[in-house]
Amino acid sequence: MRAALALAFSIFSTPALAHTGEDISGFTSGFFHPLFGWDHIAAMFAVGLWGAFLGRPAIYLLPIIFPLVMAIGGALGIAGIHLPAVEAGIAASALVLGVCVMMAAQPPLWIAAIAVGFFAIFHGHAHGTELPHAANPFGYAAGFVVATGLLHLSGIAFGTLTRNAAGRVIVRGAGAIIALAGIVLLAGSLAEIGG
């Protein structure tokens, strides 16, 4: 299976020419776009981890809600509709979601859904802004949606450690690390805005 996947990657890979304004490629560029940003990785991973604490049905509803709302943010980005402080919003998502994991917060599902959906708008906007420049917009859109979903899945898989006491400490520790990363990223974004 691993060999088949490696073969698939090597056969179908295309050049990754990321960053706004350039003629970026298709699936591969879209797929790696969330993976090349620590802010995206931390927040997406935290969504999965938080799902583990929230239990059912949140654990599977959040990964369904997130891409749908993210696409709305993506559509805003594609349409060129300005959203203030996108980078700060993404960094804040890592901070807030990291704190939720650290605290093992278990709010009602609708509050969790609104929180995750709110931040999804910022992530989607960041990806969507680059989409019109893609040589293959379909591939790019599919790539970043799939990568985002796989990051959620990774978080959920890691979150299965919460089944025992030691594992819960490890997962909450991961939340604390994500929250710290969020503080650093948020400070950087705010400094950029201020500068």
Partner: protein
């Protein structure tokens, strides 16, 4: 089969190209060109996969009637197609709606599933129709290849997390379709 599914999805997404609809495949002939047509038009392939995901989760009776309705309505759409054109955004809207439906995991009554299958089939047929009957036959076969295979895979899924996975893929499809729609409307 289950282990091959993620790889197949990945290969499909990796190999997919931009929307060069109605572009001929050199040397393929009209039937082969038609057969591949639903695979190379992003909105069509998304809508057809999502329809398969949704129908695969329905009761046997609703599934059987919907598949028959799809087969007949696709012929109607393909026959009517040469007499008009759909606005370019319609296939993206279809993919968005059926993807969202698959994401909800709603087990609908047969009357609803039949209406949805009819609507998707007529509009996709209408949007892809060719004046060449052989190509139209290829499109009909290609669309069924997608829908029936996806239904077949979904029907084999028993584990709860795999069924959740079906809904997640539905959400992914809706998300991709929404962004393609926004891009199409912008351009």
């Amino acid at each position: 089969m289950r282990r091959a599914f993620p790889l197949a999805v990945f290969l499909f997404l990796s190999a997919s190209v931009s929307a060069d609809a109605h572009e001929a495949i050199n040397g393929g002939g009209p039937f082969i060109n038609g057969l591949f047509h639903p695979f190379i038009v992003p909105a069509h392939v998304l809508a057809l996969i999502a329809l398969g995901l949704w129908l695969g989760r329905q009761d046997n009776g609703a599934l059987r009637r919907s598949v028959i309705a799809f087969a007949v309505a696709l012929i109607v759409g393909l026959v009517a197609g040469p007499f008009g054109t759909l606005p370019a955004f319609v296939p993206d809207v279809l993919a968005l709606c059926i993807g969202a439906l698959a994401a909800t995991g709603w087990r609908a009554p047969a009357s609803i599933t039949v209406i949805v299958a009819l609507g998707i089939a007529v509009l996709i047929g209408f949007d892809s129709a060719s004046e060449d009957p052989l190509m139209s036959l290829g499109i009909w076969a290609g669309a069924h290849l997608i829908v029936l295979n996806v239904i077949n895979i979904v029907l084999r899924l028993k584990a709860a997390w795999l069924i959740v996975g079906v809904r997640v893929i539905g959400a992914w499809i809706a998300a991709i379709a929404l962004m393609l729609l926004a891009l199409g409307l912008k351009s």
